[in-house]
């Protein structure tokens, strides 16, 4: 009895600092953010009379709606593009590669470098006078620089699909690794071809990995600031850019707080619907 109690209390004591730290830094800002979202900015001071005005403003402003929808669509496109392009890589490493650890290491090394610098590099690659255009012109493949490369949604999706690659590959790889080989043999013995076997056995069994990868990519992408700022141009701006403006140049913290909370709710809602939908789809295939 004594042993058990000391085990419990020691566990609680040891886990307490980390738990309280994260707990406090999640809960306290949230409470204050909610408070701020109901206050009003009056030039230099804050009017603390509670009001729904910020929410009314945010929900009726076409720019906010536009940026919110675009952020979610771009994040969705990034998620789909990353998972689709990453799946074959995870498949290759799990089933075909001989030196799995080496391949996994090769895939993660580029991501041990600064995210800001990688996005910056894409800006240089895709620019009008940039690396890609000049390389294509030097080799004679084009005569005029391509203008559709930078400052649009395409550039944002490409840059983010690059930035998130290992976050898609690793969870899918783990779920592929977990598949019992005898299930695949059974499918073959029962007369399934390679494609049918993949669709009916492999793919459904990797849905947890796909969900994990999608959520890890989708949630932070909706609130990404660096990529839309550097490569998005005016067509690629996202909600984070607007939030930053409220805390910076526009100096309207209450509206910024409101936008942060709304973005969080939107992300949470879409992520939940997506995860439930995919789980249901996975069950139906089987």
């Amino acid at each position: 009895m004594f042993k058990l109690r000391s085990d419990t209390s020691r566990g609680l004591t040891l886990a307490a600092p980390a738990t309280l730290y994260v707990g406090l830094l999640v809960a306290a800002p949230l409470v204050i953010l909610v408070a701020y979202s109901m206050w009003t900015q009056t030039y230099v001071s804050i009017d603390r009379t509670p009001t729904w005005a910020n929410y009314r403003e945010a929900l009726t402003d076409p720019l906010v709606r536009h940026l919110m929808i675009r952020s979610i669509l771009i994040a969705g496109a990034v998620t789909v593009a990353t998972v689709l392009t990453a799946y074959p890589i995870a498949y290759f490493i799990a089933f075909r590669a001989r030196k799995k650890t080496l391949w996994l290491l090769l895939i993660t090394i580029p991501f041990w470098s600064s995210y800001l610098l990688r996005v910056f590099a894409w800006k240089l690659i895709l620019g009008f006078n940039g690396v890609m255009n000049s390389a294509l012109m030097v080799t004679g493949m084009i005569d005029e620089p391509l203008t559709f490369l930078l400052y649009n949604e395409f550039a944002v999706v490409l840059t983010l699909a690059h930035a998130w690659a290992p976050f898609a590959i690793l969870p899918i790889y783990v779920s592929l690794q977990k598949i019992d080989p005898s299930l695949l043999e059974a499918a073959t013995d029962l007369g399934n071809g390679a494609v049918a076997r993949f669709l009916r056995v492999t793919l459904p069994l990797t849905i947890p990995g796909i969900i994990a990868a999608s959520l890890i990519i989708f949630i932070p992408t909706v609130g990404d600031y660096v990529t839309p700022s550097l490569v998005g141009g005016s067509d690629g701006k996202m909600i984070a850019n607007l939030i930053q403006v409220q805390f910076g140049a526009a100096n309207n913290w209450p509206l910024g707080a409101t936008l942060s909370l709304l973005a969080m709710l939107a992300v949470g809602f879409v992520a939940l619907v997506f995860a439930l939908g995919l789980t249901a789809a996975g069950r139906r295939i089987r």
Partner: protein, 261 residues
């Protein structure tokens, strides 16, 4: 066999795509011209030579080192204790706590940054390196916890029990048995959390005030085309530093795992 080859070709192309931006920065940092485009004009080390003479850069580097080292210390010590509890002890709320400490990984950066700014201002903490350290420790904690968890996973609990049976106190056991065995994990966690902080931009952008860290400094330089070659040189140095640090961290992490085998 044919399909396997197709996959291999695809994987190789994909790897080229992954490495393209990371290799381009260093390539053009040696370019003897201020425009980042082909053909490369000539090779020079000038951009690197100029780095050492820039006071604001060195100042930002100093800030980043202070923030990185303090963050690494804070996150690693919290992670060390928490991971010990998750692997060794049973207590109420354990799963909730394990889930909670992973939360910083999935909250969008802009939301963490804006909400912490609002919190810190409300409690009277002005944007400063202290604010950045508190924020970075929050972001780095999940990394520390997962690294330390795998270090404790691979560590035979009977070693600690033997030490208790031989009359060691809790502190003695921790210092003479636990610490040496998980030391590689601690080093790995320290290096990874340092790098997380060292490379982090959005939070530092919101919270650093007039004490910029290196990424915030780089952000301010990106706008000036004339500064581009210097930024490339600085970026290349940072890329190299990050990769080296994390390769060393990986080495230590593996050493801690292989011990149990």
């Amino acid at each position: 066999m044919k399909r396997a080859n197709g996959l291999l070709i695809y994987t190789t192309l994909y790897l080229a795509f992954l490495y393209l931006p990371v290799l381009l920065l260093p390539l053009f940092s040696f370019n003897d011209g201020t425009i980042v485009a082909f053909p490369i004009k000539g090779w020079t080390l000038d951009w690197y030579r100029q780095l050492g003479a820039q006071d604001t850069l060195l100042n930002a580097l100093g800030n980043s080192l202070i923030v990185g080292i303090t963050t690494a210390l804070l996150a690693t010590s919290m992670g060390l204790f928490a991971a010990r509890a998750y692997v060794r002890n049973r207590f109420p709320g354990k799963e909730a706590s394990e889930g909670l400490v992973m939360l910083p990984l999935v909250i969008p950066g802009i939301i963490v940054a804006s909400s912490m700014l609002v919190l810190f201002i409300s409690i009277g903490l002005k944007p400063s390196l202290t604010a950045v350290i508190l924020g970075h420790s929050f972001l780095a904690l999940p990394f520390s916890v997962s690294i330390m968890k795998s270090a404790f996973d691979d560590f035979d609990a009977s070693l600690e029990e033997a030490a208790y049976d031989l009359g060691s106190t809790v502190l003695e056991t921790f210092r003479r048995v636990t610490l040496p065995v998980v030391a590689p994990g601690i080093v790995s966690s320290f290096l990874v959390t340092f790098t997380v902080s060292f490379d982090e931009f959005v939070l530092a952008f919101f919270l650093s005030g007039n004490e910029p860290t290196l990424p915030v400094y780089i952000w301010s330089q990106i706008r000036f085309p004339a500064k581009l070659p210097n930024t490339l040189a600085l970026g290349s140095v940072l890329l190299l530093a990050s990769v080296l640090l994390l390769v060393v961290a990986e080495y230590f992490r593996r050493r801690s795992s292989s011990k149990s085998a």
